[in-house]
Amino acid sequence: METSNLVRHTIIQSLIPQSTEKAAGVAIDLWERLAAQINSIVGEGGFNSLYARSLFLAQSTFPWLAAGPSPPQTDQRFTELKMSFEGQTPALALEANCLLLITFTDILASLIGESLTTRILHSAWGDEISNMAGMELKNE
C-alpha cells in the first residue's frame, strides 16, 4: 500500500493492527464509531453516499469487498462489509479496511478539508488515538 505523510493516513494506519484473528470485528468497530461522527455532521444520506463511493473505489483493488446496497437499518449498515472481511484472511481484511478508510477519508477531506476531517477522526477514535500516542511515547 502506498505510504503517505498525511496525519490522517498515519492515524488510520496506526489503528490497523498488524494481524489479529478478530480483524473483521476491529474493522467494523472503527467504522461504527466513525459513522456516528459523520452522521452527526452530514446525516445518514451523506454518510451512505460517501461510504458507497469509497467501496466502489476500493473494489478496484479488492473486488471481493461488499458490493451490495446498504441495508436500510442503521445497525446493519456494515453487515455486508463484515461478511466480506470474514471471507478473507485477517491480514488481507485489515489491508482492505485500511484502504477503504483512507479512501473514505480522502473523499471526506476533499469535501470539508484536511483539518476538519482529522478532527472528526479524533472525535471518533479519540481513545485509540490517545492510547496509540501513549504507547508510542512509552516506546520512545
Partner: protein, 603 residues
C-alpha cells in the same frame, strides 16, 4: 316654653292685648293703670321668671353643655385612645402589612425568580429546539451537499471514462481492440524520428491473411470476425509490449518494431507469427485454418518516411503471396516494378472481362490402360492485346485477390460446357470436361444455382461435367460443403480433388464427401520413379484411391518412365505434356478424332 304659674294671669281677657281696637294709655283710668301696672309687674315677674327659667334653662343647657363637653372631652379622650389603639392597630397592621408585603415581596420575588428560571429554562428549551432544528437542517443540507458532490464526482468520472473511451475508439479497432491505422501511423512517425536521431533501424511488417475472403464469404461475417479476433490475439502474443500490432482493416494487420538490430531479428519475429497462426482456430465448433503472408520493410533502407515504409512492406507482402503464401518476404527495390505490373494486370483483367479477351485451352486426360482420351481439363488463357497469351499463373492469383475470379470462373464454366456440347454435337467421342472451381466461387451463395442454369443453358449433360476442387476449398466448413457436394453429385456432376496431397492433411473428407476422382499433384509425379519417397507416396495414393473406389488421375506426366510407373501401379488416368499440352478447342477436336499417337502409348 309655656308659662304655667305665678298670679294666674289669664291671657283670654287681657284688654291690653295689643290689637287694633284698644284705647290710648293717657286716657286710661287709674285702675286700669293699676291693672296695667299690675300687669306690668306681672309681666316683669313673668319676665323675671322667664329669665330665671331661661337662666335655668341656660344653666341646664350649660350643664348639658358641660356634660356634653365632658362627654365630648371624654369622647375626646376616647379618641386619642382610640387613635392610640388605632395607631397601635395601624402599627400592627403596618407590621402585618410589612410582613405581608415582605412575604408577598418575598413570594413575588420567589415567583419572579421562579418565573425567570422558567423563562430561562423555556428559553433554553426553545433554544435547544431551535438548535435541534438547525442541526437537523444542517445535517440535511450537508447530506445533500455530500450526495450532490459525490454524484458530481461520479458524473465527472463517467464523462472522463466516456472521453477516454472515445479517444480509444478513435485510435483502436473496434473488432480486435488493436491500435488502428491512425495510431500506427502516429507511432511509426515517432519511431522514425527516434531512429533517425539515434541512428537506429526499425521495421514495418505488412500482414494479409491468406484466402480470408473465402472463409468470410462461405461461413459468414460473424465467423470471419471471430477468426480475425483470434488471429489478433495470437499476433499480439508474439510481440513485445513496446511493439505495435495494428489492424489496418479487413484482413490486413501491421506490426511496427521500433527498435531492431539486425534484419534477421525481424525474420525470426515473422517466423514466430507464421508458426503462431499455423494451429487451427476453434471457432463455433469449427477448426479453421488460416495462414498469413508477410511483407517486411526496414528503415532507413526501404523508405525514409512512414508512407514509403508501409508501401514497401505492402509490396513485399504481395510478393510473398505470389510465392506460395504462408511466408514472409523482405522488400527489394525490384518489387516496386512488380507491384506496378500487378496493378496493371488487375486493371487489364477488368478490361479483359468486359472485352471477352479470355480463351480456353484444353489438355487431354487419357485412360492409361486403353490410351483413349476420356476427358479434357479446361485451362484459361488471357489473350492480352499487347503482351500476347498470358499464362494463368501470372493473373489468376491477382484475380483471386481482387475477386475478379468470380466472373472469370463463370465465363470459363459456360465456355467449357458450350465447347463440350459442341464437340458432342460434332460427333466427336464423348468425353467429360473438367473445370477448376476456386474457393470464392464455391463459397458464393448462388454457386449451385449458377451451375444448374449453365447446364440448362448450354444443354450439356451433367455427367459430362467434372468440377475440380482443391483440398483447401473443401476444408472450409464441413457441413455446408457436404450439402453442396451432395447436391452437385445428385445432379450427376463428377467431383474431383485437385492437387491431392498438397493441401489439407485430414483425409476424413474422402469418406465424408461424395468425391469421384483424386488428381495426384504433379509435384509428386514429376519426381517418379527416381525419387523413392515420391514413388512410395504416389503408389500409396493410387492404392488408397482404388480402395476407396475412387478414380485416380496422375497430373504432370511428362516422361515414358512416369507413364510406365503409373501404369504398373494401376493408376486409372494420366494427364500431362507426355500425352498432350493444353491446346485450343479446334486442335483438341482434331486430337479427339485422331487419338493419342500409338508410339506414345507403346512403352
Amino acid at each position: 316654653m309655656k308659662k304655667t304659674g305665678n298670679g294666674g294671669a289669664s291671657d283670654a281677657h287681657d284688654p291690653l292685648q295689643p290689637d287694633g281696637s284698644g284705647p290710648h294709655k293717657d286716657s286710661l283710668p287709674a285702675e286700669l293703670e293699676n291693672a296695667i301696672a299690675y300687669k306690668e309687674n306681672a309681666v316683669i315677674d313673668a319676665e323675671t321668671a322667664i329669665l330665671s327659667r331661661e337662666k335655668l334653662t341656660t344653666a341646664r343647657e350649660e350643664a348639658v353643655h358641660l356634660r356634653e363637653n365632658a362627654s365630648t372631652l371624654r369622647e375626646y379622650s376616647v379618641y386619642p385612645r382610640e387613635k392610640a389603639v388605632q395607631a397601635r392597630e395601624d402599627i400592627a397592621h403596618l407590621r402585618e402589612t410589612a410582613v405581608q408585603v415582605a412575604r408577598e415581596v418575598d413570594a413575588h420575588g420567589r415567583e419572579v425568580a421562579a418565573t425567570s428560571r422558567g423563562r430561562e429554562i423555556h428559553a433554553a428549551e426553545r433554544l435547544q429546539a431551535v438548535s435541534d432544528d438547525h442541526l437537523s437542517m444542517l445535517q440535511e443540507a450537508n447530506a445533500h451537499l455530500v450526495i450532490a458532490t459525490i454524484e458530481a464526482q461520479k458524473m465527472a468520472e463517467q464523462v472522463q471514462v466516456a472521453k477516454e473511451h472515445l479517444a480509444h475508439l478513435a485510435h483502436h479497432d473496434i473488432l480486435t481492440a488493436l491500435p488502428n491505422r491512425l495510431l500506427l501511423q502516429d507511432r511509426l512517425g515517432q519511431a522514425i524520428e527516434l531512429a533517425r536521431r539515434h541512428g537506429r533501424q526499425l521495421s514495418v511488417m505488412f500482414m494479409d491473411l491468406d484466402r480470408f475472403k473465402y472463409i468470410n464469404d462461405s461461413l459468414g461475417h460473424a465467423m470471419g470476425d471471430q477468426l480475425l479476433q483470434s488471429v489478433a490475439r495470437r499476433l499480439r502474443d508474439c510481440v513485445r509490449r513496446s511493439d505495435t500490432i495494428s489492424r489496418q482493416g479487413g484482413d490486413e494487420f501491421m506490426l511496427l518494431l521500433p527498435t531492431i538490430k539486425h534484419a534477421e531479428d525481424v525474420a525470426l519475429c515473422a517466423q514466430k507469427m507464421l508458426a503462431a497462426l499455423a494451429l487451427p482456430h476453434r471457432i463455433g465448433g469449427h477448426d479453421l485454418h488460416i495462414s498469413v503472408s508477410i511483407g517486411i520493410s526496414i528503415y532507413p533502407r526501404d523508405g525514409q518516411d512512414g508512407e514509403t515504409l508501409i508501401k514497401s512492406a505492402d509490396t513485399a507482402m504481395y510478393y510473398a503471396k505470389e510465392n506460395g503464401r504462408n511466408t514472409y518476404k523482405f522488400f527489394e527495390p525490384a518489387m516496386n516494378a512488380r507491384a506496378i505490373q500487378r496493378h496493371s494486370i488487375e486493371d487489364g483483367l477488368r478490361r479483359a472481362l468486359e472485352r471477352q479477351d479470355f480463351v480456353l485451352h484444353y489438355q487431354p486426360k487419357i485412360n492409361l490402360h486403353s490410351g483413349v482420351i476420356v476427358g479434357a481439363e479446361a485451362l484459361i488463357r488471357w489473350q492480352h492485346p499487347k503482351r500476347g497469351l498470358v499464362q494463368p499463373g501470372q493473373f489468376v492469383p491477382i484475380a483471386e485477390d481482387s475477386g475478379l475470379i468470380l466472373p472469370m470462373g463463370r465465363w470459363m464454366l459456360r465456355e467449357a460446357c458450350l465447347q463440350a456440347r459442341a464437340w458432342l454435337q460434332a460427333g466427336l467421342p464423348p468425353i467429360s470436361v473438367a473445370v477448376n472451381i476456386s474457393a470464392l466461387e464455391f463459397g458464393a451463395r448462388d454457386f449451385l444455382k449458377n451451375i444448374r442454369a449453365t447446364l440448362e443453358d448450354t444443354g450439356l449433360e451433367p455427367h459430362c461435367l467434372e468440377l475440380e476442387l482443391t483440398e483447401s476449398v473443401l476444408m472450409q466448413d464441413a457441413e455446408p460443403t457436404n450439402t453442396l457436394l451432395k447436391a452437385l453429385s445428385e445432379l450427376g456432376i463428377k467431383l474431383a480433388i485437385d492437387d491431392f496431397g498438397t493441401g489439407y492433411s485430414s483425409l476424413s473428407y474422402l469418406r465424408q464427401f461424395p468425391i469421384h476422382t483424386l488428381k495426384i499433384d504433379q509435384s509428386f509425379v514429376s519426381r517418379i520413379p527416381g525419387n523413392t519417397d515420391d514413388a512410395t507416396l504416389v503408389s500409396a495414393m493410387i492404392h488408397m484411391g482404388k480402395c476407396l473406389k475412387l478414380r485416380v488421375v496422375a497430373k504432370g506426366v511428362e516422361t515414358p518412365e512416369q507413364y510406365a510407373f503409373l501404369l504398373a501401379q494401376q493408376c486409372d488416368e494420366g494427364q500431362g505434356y507426355y500425352f498432350g499440352r493444353p491446346m485450343v478447342a479446334e486442335a483438341f477436336a482434331v486430337l479427339l478424332q485422331t487419338g493419342i499417337l500409338p508410339t506414345i502409348l507403346r512403352i
